[in-house]
């Protein structure tokens, strides 16, 4: 009998403990705020894998933001800590990482990962847990078409807005200088898909005939056949949907082998990686290549100079677009928490839906889908530097190289 009694007590104690634990989990709803100690922010990033060269600066951008924040007293009078997991650019891993950050690590806040491919599933995890999700990159339509309440994009435009400044420049050219034909090779990725489709639609409307439009698999290394077909078609313009520097360099190298240099060349994303892109394609071969970015190191928006200075001091090189986008996401989160005065996720989302935030890419305000309204920047590699050619307010040069010189 005594045995049985002790066993009964043990069962009762275990049951009570389990009930308390379950209650604690149920009440948590993803927020681990204890009211004291540091505020933790959970992030997953592809720090290894094919886009590691782009996500490392993003991580550094987040760290610069947190360091500045902590120096200025943190958030709500508490210091802030980042809890960062590596997802290796894998969609399954990014989902398990954000689930882990919310349910096991019990972080107070979240910040977004890199690329549309990863932000697409990651934002679903955040939405399901009713947690604010400010993403530094990932502008594909399908991310915003789901009507999420907690999702916000920290760039001035989405993938659909990316061609705008380049198209304006094409429209500004005299008719005889405009491209007559164009090729559209693109990586099969939710971000580049939208952008390149938009390019093709708008350029076709301007009378530019498409001579090549194909997608290639994300792990493509051999661009020779793609370059060979494009070289035979001899388009005036090549618009390349490139996710990583490896991508952009792969097609450039294949074009070189085919002795083909288009008069005008635009690549998404890859040329903005100012550290790795020139190394991968050869510094002289960057000359005249266009890209679109969200941010300029020389912009006059409040805080930008301090950001560039802090980043350069911390990491010994100038920040990239990806670093700036991560910093911007941090600024958005910071503004929401400071203005709400707490960590209630619903209130944070409501505040962002109704207010503008001053950031280093300009003032950002969002529609009900989390889509901002603003101008992306048209940039071109000139003399070994990424120069900004439009819009006018953000220009670092008035010169535009056209046509692009041949490969060196």
């Amino acid at each position: 009998m005594p045995r049985s009694g002790r066993s009964g007590r043990q069962v009762a104690v275990l049951g009570a403990t389990a009930t308390l634990l379950l209650g604690a989990v149920a009440c948590g709803t993803g927020s681990g705020s204890s009211g004291s100690g540091p505020i933790t922010i959970g992030i997953s990033l592809p720090l290894s894998g094919p886009v590691a060269d782009a996500s490392k600066p993003a991580y550094e951008g987040y760290k610069v933001w947190v360091d500045q924040l902590n120096k200025n007293g943190g958030l709500l009078g508490r210091q802030v800590e980042l809890k960062v997991l590596d997802d290796g650019f894998d969609q399954n891993t990014v989902v398990s990482n954000y689930n882990r950050l919310i349910s096991q690590e019990r972080v107070d806040l979240l910040l977004g990962t890199f690329s549309s491919k990863l932000n697409l599933p990651a934002s679903t995890v955040a939405e399901r847990n009713k947690m604010l999700y400010v993403e530094p990159s990932g502008g594909a339509d399908e991310i915003f078409d789901r009507g999420y309440d907690y999702l916000f994009f920290a760039q001035p435009g989405t993938s659909r807005d990316l061609p705008e400044q380049f198209l304006n420049w094409i429209r500004s050219l005299p008719a005889d200088q405009r491209p007559k034909t164009a090729a559209y090779p693109t990586q099969d990725d939710p971000n580049t898909d939208v952008t390149v489709a938009e390019f093709r639609k708008e350029l076709t409307a301007l009378g530019v005939k498409s001579v090549y439009s194909e997608k290639y698999a994300p792990d493509t290394v051999n661009f020779d056949s793609i370059a060979s077909v494009i070289a035979r078609a001899e388009p005036d313009l090549v618009v390349h949907g490139a996710v990583a520097a490896n991508d952009g360099a792969g097609l450039v190298k294949a074009f070189q082998k085919q002795q083909f240099s288009p008069k005008i060349m635009f690549q998404t994303n890859a040329p903005s990686l100012v550290g790795s892109y020139p190394q991968a394609v050869g510094a002289k071969n960057t000359e005249g290549i266009f890209t679109t970015t969200a941010w300029s190191p020389k912009s006059t928006y409040a805080g930008n100079t301090a950001f560039v200075k802090s980043y350069t001091k911390a990491y010994g090189s100038a920040p990239t677009d990806d670093a700036a986008n991560a910093y911007t996401a941090g600024q958005v989160l910071e503004a929401a928490v400071k203005n709400v005065g707490g960590l209630d996720q619903g209130k944070l989302a409501d505040w962002l839906h109704g207010h503008q935030v001053k950031t280093i890419v300009g003032p950002l305000g969002w529609d009900e889908r989390g889509v901002p309204a603003g101008d992306m920047l048209l940039a071109q590699w000139q003399g070994g530097k990424l120069e900004f050619v439009s819009p006018k307010a953000q220009q670092t040069t008035t010169k535009v190289i056209n046509p692009k010189p041949g490969w060196s």
């Binding site: 590691a52 290639y216 698999a217 051999n222 035979r232 990583a244 190298k253 082998k257 790795s276 991968a280």
Partner: protein
């Protein structure tokens, strides 16, 4: 017609390099029945080594195979005694896991030393081509293919005409029999593994000239080389050459006439076809491998 010929020629040229990249994996499997998933990492390690030597000395990257090959030979030798020998004597799946782990470690070490940025090796001829009757033959591809053929010939002669090569063949046929006739089987296995890795050392130097690469590029080459070996026939050196040419030409034609999106699937479709139609591969002889330890 020119487009078709161009696609075939580009496929054949790159097929020569693929066959060198896959030959090491095939040799290792043929001798010790280990599917060496570490080959992808070794290829990329060699590519980074070539990049460093080329950028610091300015020497021709294709000729740097004479440096990268012995370097990787040493790496292969050391890794065999440190990791492979222990794992392959326990269970075949353990060897598979060990070599996969070696790839992860290699990628990590490369990232620590060189960073995660993509690199390219761009000698003066990287952007030049031979124009042969309207067909453009990229010089880098032509030279790389020639070097690959030369290295493969050396590998063939090593296996056929030298005492070490004959020891390797004897050990592959029957390790017990080899032991009976006085061959140091343990050292022969180590030599075969090291030579296999050294072949990746030569292949990596050639790949560095043809494509940009980064640590994660290893994953692509694991899949590709494994597909080539399975298609050609595991353990058959001639099979890996034939498999490489078939896959490279099929990739090139698919990219040109179907879609580049489908080209990446070609190696894996080839594996499925082989498993269904001819499980031993194009030039393989065994229907089922006895994976038990000799």
């Amino acid at each position: 017609m020119t487009a078709l010929l161009q696609a075939i020629v580009l496929g054949l040229l790159i097929g020569g390099v693929y066959s060198l990249a896959a030959s090491g994996m095939n040799l290792i499997f043929g001798v010790m029945r280990v599917v060496n998933l570490a080959q992808g990492g070794m290829l990329i390690l060699s590519a980074y080594l070539t990049f460093t030597l080329w950028s610091s000395t300015g020497l021709d990257p294709l000729l740097l195979v004479v440096v990268t090959t012995p370097c990787l030979l040493v790496v292969g030798w050391v890794t065999y005694y440190l990791f492979i020998e222990r794992s392959r004597t326990t269970d075949p799946s353990m060897a598979l896991v060990t070599t996969f782990g070696l790839t992860l470690v290699t990628k990590g070490v490369i990232a620590l030393i060189w960073g995660n940025q993509p690199r390219s090796v761009t000698p003066g001829y990287a952007n030049r081509s031979f124009d042969v009757a309207g067909l453009l033959l990229p010089q880098a591809q032509v030279y790389a293919c020639l070097v690959a053929v030369a290295v493969l010939t050396c590998l063939y002669l090593l296996l056929r005409r030298t005492w070490l090569g004959r020891s390797i063949q004897a050990t592959a046929a029957s390790s017990e029999g080899a032991r009976l006739i006085g061959i140091e089987v343990r050292n022969t296995w180590a030599a075969a593994y090291a030579i296999g890795v050294a072949a990746a050392g030569a292949g990596g130097a050639l790949l560095s000239v043809l494509y940009p690469f980064m640590p994660s590029s290893a994953d692509h080459w694991i899949g590709l080389t494994l597909s080539i070996v399975v298609l050609g026939g595991m353990g058959s050196l001639a099979g890996s050459v034939l498999g490489a040419l078939v896959i490279a030409v099929a990739e090139s034609l698919t990219s040109t006439y179907v879609s580049p999106d489908w080209a990446a699937a070609v190696p894996f479709m080839a594996i499925i076809l082989v498993l269904v139609i001819r499980p031993q591969g194009l030039l393989g002889t065994r229907l089922r491998e006895d994976m038990s330890r000799a």
